[in-house]
């Protein structure tokens, strides 16, 4: 029963002569299972499927359509809607503006790699990016980011000693002087229970006042995604989300929970370790992958 992918469930559902209430309920069960397998937060799964079930059973069926087609349409649309739907996230900025992007997230989520990917993305679109290493904690963080900046071919600023706030401020100043108009700040990994680190992030954000704080989320994260995202959002308002490691088997349902928890949109996804393996987020394809 568990091996039934959602696609098979939908095929079975569509194959029925009449999409009676029982068939809708059975489809909802299969949807729940697919979303849970995709790591969407349990509470959110129950909430989403309850809403879909109510809408699907009450929604008027337009002529030429069947209730079963309405149910599937409701399911798909609800998920795409949750992810921002048709609303285009702001990715491209006016060239005369100087913007600062600050990357935050749990240890190992992919911030440093993503910082370099973002630099490459904006460079290939005619911007002048610069990267700042404000991670003063992790061994080799400076070298990692410096090597990446070199491979992208963008200016890098870092200091081997100093506080993250001082380095970030000096870095932004130096890169602006060099003519950079997209300044990307990489920060140390941290999670909600490390209060000193959460405080440091809050202070850093208050001092450098970034144009946007970007939460980087590992696609393999499970039920804790919601709780971690909430904690980050309470410390520093999250402007957007980037989901990494979607080149693996994980469906990234944790990212959906993070979206709902922060109200921020997913702008990019990471699909590999290389500099160019960053894609602009596309809700419909994310949803179809989520549903298996």
């Amino acid at each position: 029963k568990l091996g039934t992918s959602l696609r098979e469930a939908i095929k079975k559902f569509l194959g029925r002569p009449v999409a009676d209430e029982l068939a809708v309920k059975e489809l909802i069960r299969d949807v729940q299972r697919a979303l849970l397998l995709a790591d969407v937060n349990v509470e959110l799964v129950l909430k989403i499927t309850q809403l879909i079930e109510e809408r699907a059973l009450k929604e008027p069926v337009p002529s030429g359509f069947t209730r079963r087609e309405v149910t599937l349409k409701v399911l798909y649309e609800s998920l795409v809607e949750l992810l921002g739907g048709e609303k285009q996230p702001k990715i491209l900025y006016p060239a005369n503006e100087s913007i600062t992007l600050m990357l935050v997230g749990v240890q190992g989520s992919g911030k440093t790699t993503t910082a370099a990917k973002l630099a490459w993305f904006y460079k290939s679109r005619g911007y002048r990016p610069g990267i700042v290493c404000a991670d003063t904690f992790r061994p080799g963080a400076y070298d990692q980011l410096k090597q990446l900046a070199l491979s992208v071919g963008v200016p890098f600023y870092g200091e081997r000693t100093g506080t993250s706030t001082e380095i970030a401020l000096r870095g932004i100043n130096e890169l602006k002087k060099m003519g950079c108009n997209v300044i990307i700040i990489d920060t140390a990994g941290r999670h909600k229970s490390e209060s000193t680190l959460m405080e440091e992030m809050k202070l850093l954000s208050e001092v450098i006042k970034p144009s946007e704080v970007i939460l980087v989320v590992d696609a393999t994260i499970g039920q804790q995604a919601k709780v971690q995202a909430e904690a980050f959002n309470n410390a520093t308002k999250i402007g957007s989300i980037i989901v990494t490691k979607l080149d693996g088997a994980a469906k990234g349902g944790g990212a959906l929970s993070a979206v709902v928890a922060t109200g921020a949109q997913i702008k990019f996804i990471g699909i590999g370790e290389k500099i160019d393996e960053l894609e602009i987020f596309d809700p419909p394809s994310f949803v179809s992958r989520l549903l298996g």
Binding site: L2, R33, L36, L37, A38, D39, V42, V106, Q107, G108, S109, G110, T112, A116, F137, R138, P139, G140, A141, Y142, D143, Q144, L145, K146, Q147, L148, S151, H191, K192, S193, E194, D218, T220, I221, G222, Q223, Q224, V227, Q228, K245, D247, G248, A249, A250, G253, G254, E273
Partner: protein, 283 residues
């Protein structure tokens, strides 16, 4: 009263969801709860006993039995045994990107050093930016030798070099750090096979982030299929996680979780404790 189908089915739904909320992979949660429930069908319980409490207790007992039936591995005594036999002890660390292998290598090195065992590190991550500099910092802080080649070199050659170094210099423990990889990358899983074939490690340790959801199950299965996993370290349990991934990995590999990573310091390594884990996972 007798435990019947009806009273058991609503309880099993609740417990399955509780396990899933604790990050136990869905198929694992289903299998475990269904087995517990089917073993309780027709069982008579006291009139005042709650069905939920009875099933929960049985679930805990089942999980505890499953975890304790897995043969534990004591890294330190294994190393000491090898030293006594005049042999070296090679441990290879593998796992998904960013889940904590490099820091775990440093923690294990620290533990071995504290037990008066000599250690040499091998940086078999010749791919990722800053990987060698990162491990070099740990080696310097710990006062141990790091064997490294240039970026792009053959990771198996680095591991081999470290083994030769240990044999020549009378160093007991060789800890091999490898590059992160996702289990779906066939080429990288083949690379791992090659490193294992060349280095012939005594222990292959899987390092997985405790924040991982359902993917932990597939990760464990695929890494196990590729090189055979002997033990697992579950990291970042200090991130207020429930730790259900430990159950998924135990079921997939039938090998022990030997340590929990409980922070970013070298001493933040906690030996496996089944009761402690179950206290977190179960309601």
């Amino acid at each position: 009263k007798e435990l019947d189908e009806e009273s058991l089915s609503s309880v099993s739904e609740r417990l399955r969801l509780a396990l899933i909320e604790s990050d136990v992979a869905l198929p694992v949660a289903f299998e475990i709860v269904d087995n517990v429930v089917s073993s309780l069908k027709g069982v008579r319980i006291g009139r005042t006993e709650g069905v939920y409490q009875v099933v929960l207790r049985s679930l805990r007992e089942t999980l505890y039995k499953m975890l304790s039936s897995i043969q534990q591995v004591d890294l330190v005594s294994e190393a000491m045994k090898r030293r006594k036999e005049g042999r070296i002890f090679t441990v290879m660390f593998v796992g998904p990107n960013g889940h904590g292998k490099t820091l775990t290598v440093a923690k294990i090195a620290n533990l071995l050093l504290k037990n008066n065992l000599s250690v040499v590190l091998a940086c078999s991550d010749t791919f990722r930016a800053g990987a060698e500099e990162q491990l070099e910092v740990h080696a310097t802080r710990l006062g141990v030798k790091l064997i490294r080649h240039r970026y792009g070199a053959d990771p198996a050659a680095v591991a081999y070099d470290a083994v030769i170094h240990a044999l020549a210099r009378g160093v007991t423990c060789v800890l091999i750090d490898t590059a992160g990889r996702l289990q779906t990358d066939k080429g990288l899983m083949d690379e791992l096979r090659k490193i294992a074939r060349v280095a012939k490690p005594d222990l292959k340790v899987l390092v997985v982030d405790a924040l991982t959801g359902n993917d932990a199950y597939d990760m464990a299965i695929k890494f196990n299929e590729a090189i055979g996993i002997d033990a697992t370290v579950l990291t970042k349990v200090d991130a207020d996680v429930k730790g259900g991934a430990a159950i998924s990995i135990s079921v997939a590999t039938r090998k022990p979780i030997i340590y929990f990573g409980t922070g970013q310091g070298y001493d933040d390594l906690k030996p496996f404790d089944a009761q402690w884990l179950l206290d977190r996972i179960l309601p």
